[in-house]
């Protein structure tokens, strides 16, 4: 298997060799196996799933539930019904905050987060804390993005009822010590919500081995379509969890005054579901399994290493996070002295290089790092050494374009 062969599967990459796409942490590209699966669903099995008593609807239901089984297996969930399909990580975390958070968090409790969280893993907890009179406490990393054992012990204690932590930071690329955080949280009686948006696309995840209580991720960062994501919930918690959204498809019986809920997981999937999205995610998972995480990691590490080595020769570039490329999960976040990240990105865009510039939905982390915004280049297994070189070449010219004579 070569990268050239892989790129043939991605029409947008194959048709646009001039473009260097390095914003994979924002969203990945999709191979034709995924878009074909979605088209095939609409052309051969399209009907509203879960309700219709005719062949097309039953087929749509079967495909939707097959996708659930497959996703469950992919992340090591013991039972398919422990996977709730959502729109994305944001919706998954909101589901936990509204359903579990508002039911279980009480006045005086603490919710512990890391300062590296994405806004989607901060705002729902601000809401829950505000509604219930709880307090947010923040775990802070060192300069390389590492959260120490001492920090975990100090910030997670008897008052802590819930810990929300990103598996991999979308800015630093660092993998957080989720095993230690989960062990500490469970020892003090707290549950742990893991934002796995940046982890599931890049390395094997086993939620049962991790002993995670909640694990959220998005399809679109792992070759799947936009608008489909998932939430894993531990069985004993799931059994007691009240519904989040209410309406069609999630009921058992409704009277004028009340209702009883459908069985798991349908109780959490109100309204017509995104069956085509689930089918697309299923195809994405199959594609990733075929490529294999060994290959994915090897490619990402090689590209990250090449990029970080080249950036280290440019004195006006400051890279955040670990000095070890293997600890970046393909994410390289940096600043260019004297040039605002938006100007960097606009200039690179003129050379067809796509990077992200801004606060990356992580303003508390930007404040912690003492920067307003940064530039982020993020690779995936389909990127090439040549693309990294073209990015570095374009980046080396940016200060010149901005009027600096170096």
């Amino acid at each position: 298997m070569t990268v050239e062969m892989i790129r043939e599967d991605f029409p947008i990459l194959a048709n646009h060799p001039e473009v260097v796409y390095l914003d994979n942490a924002a969203t990945s590209q999709r191979p034709k196996q995924v878009t074909d699966a979605i088209t095939q669903f609409y052309e051969t099995a399209n009907a509203n799933p879960l309700r219709g008593l005719y062949d097309w609807s039953m087929r749509a239901t079967a495909l939707y539930e097959e996708a659930r089984e497959h996703v469950a297996r992919f992340i090591g969930a013991p039972l398919p019904e422990q996977i709730i399909f959502t729109r994305n990580t944001t919706e998954s975390i909101n589901l936990v905050a509204y359903s579990y958070g508002l039911t279980n968090i009480r006045e005086g409790d603490e919710i512990a987060l890391t300062v590296m969280e994405h806004h989607s893993d901060i705002l729902p907890w601000q809401m829950a804390a505000r509604e219930r009179g709880a307090k947010l406490t923040w775990l802070e990393p060192d300069a390389e993005g590492v959260i120490s054992e001492a920090e975990i012990t100090a910030k997670i204690h008897e008052k802590t009822k819930l810990v929300a932590v990103g598996h991999v930071s979308n800015v630093m690329g660092v993998t957080n010590p989720v095993e230690q955080i989960i062990a500490r949280a469970h020892a003090v009686g707290a549950v742990v919500v893991i934002d796995g948006a940046q982890a599931v696309p890049h390395h094997p995840v086993n939620v049962a081995e991790l002993d995670a209580d909640f694990y959220a991720f998005s399809g679109h960062k792992m070759l799947g379509p936009m608008g489909i994501g998932a939430l894993y919930v531990k069985k004993e918690i799931l059994d007691k969890l009240p519904p989040f959204l209410t309406g069609g498809e999630m009921i058992e019986y409704v009277t004028r005054e009340s209702a009883t809920w459908a069985e798991l997981p349908h109780k959490f999937e109100a309204g017509t579901v995104n069956a085509a999205g689930a089918v697309g995610l299923d195809a994405a998972v199959r594609y990733l399994e075929r490529i294999g995480f060994d290959f994915i990691r090897e490619r990402e590490e090689a590209l990250t290493k090449r990029m970080m080595e080249a950036l280290s020769t440019l004195p006006y570039i400051r890279v955040f996070g670990s000095a070890d490329p293997a600890k970046h999960c393909g994410i390289v976040t940096f600043t260019v002295d004297g040039v605002h990240p938006h100007d960097v990105s606009s200039v690179l865009n003129e050379d067809h290089v796509c990077v992200r510039a801004g606060h990356h939905c992580a303003q508390p982390l930007m404040q912690f790092l003492g920067v307003g915004s940064t530039v982020r280049a993020s690779v995936y297994f389909y990127n090439t050494e040549d693309e990294v070189d073209r990015f570095v070449r374009a980046l080396s010219a940016v200060r010149g374009v901005m009027g600096y004579g170096d």
């Binding site: 605002h340 938006h342 003129e350 901005m402």
Partner: protein, 141 residues
């Protein structure tokens, strides 16, 4: 105009060597303008005497386009009345929307160099930050 050319020909000069950046000792009107999505953050200070903007300065931080745009705006509005300044703001917004006339471009003087931002949707907010802030500040007058 492509963006590299825009930077080289217009923006860099005002970004690296602004005419009006700093803190004013005796402003009569001060307003902060922020682009939350980009982090552009300016503090516009104006001195208004008998309905005329006699001096203005800005400080803060942001991308080159936001900084250069507010610097050129201040070139335009010093010596203008409130209504004249608001009229210029209207012309600038029109230019950025792509509906500016020759007359608008002439009235805007050097600030008209940003007309190509109309074709750069991601940078529109940067270019209009200073003008929006001024409009808001003067609206309450």
């Amino acid at each position: 105009m492509e963006i590299k050319q825009l930077y080289r020909e217009i923006v860099n000069e005002h970004n690296l060597h602004p005419n009006h950046k700093g803190t004013m000792t005796d402003p009569t009107l001060v307003l902060r303008g922020v682009n939350p999505s980009c982090g552009d953050d300016i503090n516009l200070q104006m001195k208004i005497e008998d309905g005329v903007i006699t001096d203005a300065m800005f400080d803060g931080s942001g991308c080159a386009i936001s900084q250069a745009s507010v610097d050129m705006m201040i070139d335009d509005i010093i010596g203008k009345s409130r209504d004249e300044a608001l009229d210029l703001a209207g012309r600038f917004m029109g230019m950025i929307r792509g509906t500016g006339t020759e007359e608008d471009l002439e009235a805007l003087d050097e600030a008209a160099a940003l007309q190509d931002v109309a074709h750069m949707p991601a940078r529109v907010k940067c270019a209009v930050l200073g003008w929006h802030t001024m409009e808001e500040a003067l609206a309450n007058l």
